[in-house]
């Protein structure tokens, strides 16, 4: 019965991806390609993973990544653009699930046992590596700040990073604002926390992420 369920899920996922649009390059610029009824490519899988992550479906995002990159944890940031995107999605899925999402939860065989803390530390390190390859990119910095904010030992660094971005109005991630709000609240900066929550709510499709705990 379980196998049947997985098969049905896989079929549904395949159908959804097979008709999804994807981005590509033409004339030296970006263009949007129309849907083509064919087996989803890794590009489509990662686009789907990004969409799942954006919609708060962290486990689905991780599953989509693992379907194309089962050994994503071994990926080198910056070596391959698509793999780097996949690495970012997987790391953020881990962060936003508070370390709950891992290969086993995603239904993929793995010998490794990931504690939530080890999982979060891995995700923060992955974001650091992406940041090193994409220096001075506030999008990556916001993701890194969000990841670091989950680790007690790195909260000060996260606070500095996210505060600077917020001060310059360079942060587009509601999750990063939510992390900043939480840290400010923990420090007793209620006004700062409320300001960050307000920004988070303005930016978020689902404003519950601005005040409620993460979920898988």
């Amino acid at each position: 019965m379980k196998i049947l369920k997985v098969a049905v899920l896989a079929l549904a996922a395949f159908s959804a991806v097979a008709v999804s649009a994807n981005d590509a390059n033409a004339c030296g610029m970006s263009v949007r390609l129309d849907p083509t009824p064919q087996k989803p490519t890794p590009v489509q899988e990662i686009a789907k993973a990004e969409k799942s992550l954006e919609n708060g479906n962290n486990l689905a995002a991780a599953q989509a990544v693992l379907s194309s990159f089962p050994r994503i944890r071994n990926a080198q940031a910056g070596a391959n653009p698509l793999e780097t995107r996949a690495l970012r999605v997987f790391a953020l899925a881990v962060v936003r699930s508070d370390g709950q999402v891992n290969e086993k939860k995603a239904g993929v065989f793995s010998n490794a046992e990931w504690t939530t803390n080890a999982n979060l530390e891995w995700a923060a390190q992955a974001m650091r590596e992406i940041d090193a390859k994409r220096p001075n990119d506030p999008t990556v910095q916001a993701d890194l700040g969000e990841a670091l904010s989950k680790l007690p030992a790195n909260k000060a660094e996260a606070m500095t990073l996210l505060s600077k971005l917020a001060e310059k109005d360079l942060m587009g991630s509601p999750h990063a604002y939510a992390a900043l709000a939480k840290m400010k609240g923990e420090k007793g900066d209620t006004a700062g926390a409320l300001a960050a929550i307000k920004k988070c709510e303005e930016m978020s499709k689902n404003s519950t992420i601005c005040r409620t705990p993460a979920k898988a």
């Binding site: 004339c27 263009v31 506030p138 999008t139 310059k168 109005d169 587009g172 991630s173 930016m203 499709k205």
Partner: protein, 431 residues
Amino acid sequence: MRSTHKRGPILPGFALFLFVILFSLGCPPKPSPAKDDAGPSAVGDAAVVNTPVATAGDAARGKELVATFQCNRCHDGTGHEAAPQNKHCVHCHKDIMEDRFKAPAASITRWKPRVKEYADAPSLEAMKMRFNRTWVEAYLQKPFDVRPNLHQYMPSLPIEPQQAKDIAAYLVPDDHGSGAPDLAKPDLGKGRQVLETKGCGACHSMTGVAAIPASNPPSMDPREFDRAHKLAPDLRYTRDRLRYVQTVKAFLRDPKAVKPDSPMPKIALTDEEITNVVGYIVSVELSDLPPPKKAERLPVLERKVTFKEVDEKVFHRTCWHCHSEPDYAIGDGGPGNSGGLGFKPRGLNLSDYNGIAAGYLDDKGERAGVFAKDKDGTPRLVRAMMARHEEVNAPNGNGYGEVRGMPLGYDPLPLEEIQLVETWIAQGRPR
């Protein structure tokens, strides 16, 4: 890639100089007849349209700069190999139009109407024989619309004055001689008649005189006519752009003998007709261009504007083609992100919400927000979009300001779209 008020969609392809130009000749030594009273005139003695002014420039350096500014992404005849197919705006668009581009059929069908108008750009071939170097130098720094039927414009590139001199020296290396004197005396009235009856008005306009009626052009292949129509310059500027009379006359007699890739058709004209029509074009009195129209921003909307709406109508429709995410575009985020066309990498990614919020790299290499307000409270993004209106509305390239207008080389965005962006920003940039 979009339809706008005057010309419809525009792609980043541009129109460095011009190609067809017609006729030219004789500097008018005295005031010419009024435009609608074009009788015989004494103009035509001079051998050049414009007295060339020698400007210092290093042609070898100019050739390098033509490569640096990637003129070969749009123009043929640069003296460099054409840009690779995946970087060549015009060739790429042609491939799409002629079903050579590898993409899903649905995408090709959707793209075709958008790129149809962007599959041509003037070639730079034979410029050295026809152009006025001083004009080229000025145009490189402040380009303006000399081809009213071509949708794209020559973009304003970050070309320094000395660089413009060098490029002009490369493109027009010999700007000193004036050729043998041309003693023919044009009859401007008859010259006007030639313009009206020989099919010139089917492609060319000439602002500053009464509109040229569209008479029948010579029989042409429809595709060749379409190309000729798009690339036909406004004859108002001929007197400034061109120089040798003999070359221009030779061009009129047989365009392809002077410029082999010219779509200008060969028109049966007598020598007298050529003298008269060229005389008219270069010496008839022109009325002043209208003063620039002031484009006023529309007030922010009362209704809610989401990122989805702004993204669909503006960012992903127009901006994204040049400001994309490198990881999504084979490592090249376009000239507005990864650099190109002489622009240094600005890191501006307008392809998604986070990227837009992440801003751009300023001249010091520091990140700056596109929503940062200037002294009158206008967000930078809105300022750039409005600047494009000012650039296009002011005649002869006199509308350039501190902020480069966007979209580069395109028609300005309709004011309603800028209003949408400004409203979205004012509302806190909601998703």
